[in-house]
Amino acid sequence: MNAIIKVEHLSKTFEITQSQKGWSGALRGLIKPLKKKIAAVKEVSFELKPGELVGYLGPNGAGKSTSLKMLTGLLVPTSGVVQVNGLVPWRDRTKYVASIGAVFGQRTTLWWDLPVQESFDLIQYMYRIPDKRYRHNMDLFRDILGLDPFINTPVRSLSLGQRMRADLCAALLHDPKLLFLDEPTIGLDVVAKDKIRQFIKHVNEERKTTIILTTHDLQDVEKLCERVIIIDHGQLLFDGTLEALNNRFGGQRTLQVDFAETYPDVSIEGAGLISHEGLQATYQFDRDILSASDLISRLSNRYKISDLSVREPAIEDTIRRIYVDKLLEN
């Protein structure tokens, strides 16, 4: 299938003015500002197929929002190519933004003083959504997002979770092929987060909407994304499946064993013993050196085992290690 998004060698360099010290500095700044060049995004390339749900990750200040701004047509790159559905985002802004949807968790795109329903009606007008299509989508989203209880409430009096649901609905009313979600679960409680995630999954699976999700909540990633793209210092660090990420950079797996009898020494070659208390012991092992089944068979050859469980390294740990240890820097 043809790619819906094609990004090639995307780069953005900013020129920033530095503030200068003291009163004379303020004056000098007015006359001859001190300029400095900063590369926010460097040579980023990737492609997205229709219907993909990709996590776009990176620590704060990694160049995430700059690249998102270029993908949504808000910013023109210094060099490189972006094509979405055959359109260049920044070239024909109104035509392009009519074909995408965007939700920013921190801010609402709805009209603050308007009741939710009237905001939607205005969106219908702006996006020129045919009546039939609009009514159909409206009915559908009211149902799955549970909008009815607050559909006539002004946006300013909605709770964060309600507002997010309304924003999601607003972003999808015009059937965009591509949806940008920026921190869609930020600040929500566990139940609300779950609802939003289910809805995102639904939209991706049922409507085949391509979704780019940026988030700091790695639970979102774990529950929704098959593929992740990680960028840091403006560069693409990783692009692949979540599994591949874990395989390559995941920390050690752990095995917890309940023995049937007490043994004085339960250490075993190939795995590190972390704890051993009474009948229970915990091991840590590396998937590259030893598979789980090998370790279990080694153990069961030597000891009587009543129960065991393998725990995969948490995505949080993996990502943290990538951010902190710069695992991907050459």
Binding site: L74, V76, R93, T94, V97, R107, T109, D113, M126
Partner: protein, 270 residues
């Protein structure tokens, strides 16, 4: 296309207006205090004039004509161009509201015009009308047909002139992020300046606001025509009718600067 722009604008404005008159009492109080607080300065002048009789040869009624006209136009401008008020526009840029508008499939300039419509400015317009009425009581103008036809043109020119300055002031914030208070010199300062007969100012100031920024042509010269006063500067006889040219010129130049600034904001301007 043009019709759609216009309906989009009306839809946005309607939202703004409805939300502002949601609490009618509080709204009317705001309109009232807005008007009174501005009227205070005219009131001060008229009380003080009891001891002086004139300002630079102009009597209270004649100054009231200048003052009232400037206030009506500026009030209208401040209402229509609320979205481009440099103070609030810089906040819009910083808070990302502008980015959100850019994500909507509608003309960005129209969206900004529609994003704010401060109805409270009616207070200033009312204040201007009161002062204008005072001028007609104290120094009535003979409203010949040319004068009657030209007056709305003057108001319109002033709206374009100061609206253009608002747009230019907002555009500058693309580079500076923070609001630039010096722009206020041209907008609020300009409004204050044209409320008095401009020949009272120092020579260098008059020259600046004649040749560099054509402020003198939008109120002072038209007033010479309406009041039938001689021109102390000896400009050509058509000088009073340059107002629309000055207004349109500043407006169009600002619009061009705005388009340039928008391109810079999106990363191609430089």
């Amino acid at each position: 296309m043009l019709r759609r722009l216009f309906t989009t604008y009306l839809k946005f404005i309607q939202i703004q207006i409805l939300s502002q008159i949601q609490y009618p009492f509080s709204f009317l109080f705001d309109v009232f205090t807005n008007g009174i607080s501005l009227l205070i300065f005219f009131l001060s002048l008229s009380l003080v004039l009891q001891r002086f009789d004139n300002v630079g040869g102009w009597r209270l009624g004649e100054i009231a004509f200048l003052w009232g006209t400037a206030e009506i136009a500026f009030g209208l401008m401040d209402m229509i161009f609320s979205g481009f008020d440099p103070d609030s526009f810089s906040v819009m840029v910083r808070q990302g509201t502008l980015d959100q508008m850019l994500l909507r499939p509608a003309n960005i300039t129209i969206q900004i015009f529609g994003s704010r419509f401060i109805l409270r400015r009616l207070g200033r317009i009312a204040e201007g009308l009161i002062i204008f009425t005072i001028s007609q009581v104290l120094s009535p103008i003979v409203w010949t047909l040319p004068r009657l036809l030209f007056y709305p043109v003057v108001i319109f020119s002033q709206i374009l002139f100061f609206g253009g300055l608002f747009i230019a002031g907002s555009t500058i914030t693309f580079w500076t992020i923070e609001r630039i208070e010096a722009v206020n010199i041209l907008t609020y300062g300009g409004n204050e300046m044209i409320s008095y007969p401009m020949h009272i100012y120092p020579d260098w100031l008059i020259k600046f606001f004649t040749y560099l920024i054509p402020l003198i042509f939008i109120n002072y010269y038209p007033a010479l025509f309406f009041l039938g006063k001689p021109d102390p500067f000896g400009m050509p006889a058509f000088a009073p009718f340059l107002a629309p040219l000055a207004g349109l010129g500043v407006f169009l130049a600002s619009l061009w600067f705005w388009k340039f600034g928008l391109r810079y904001y999106q990363g191609t301007g430089s």
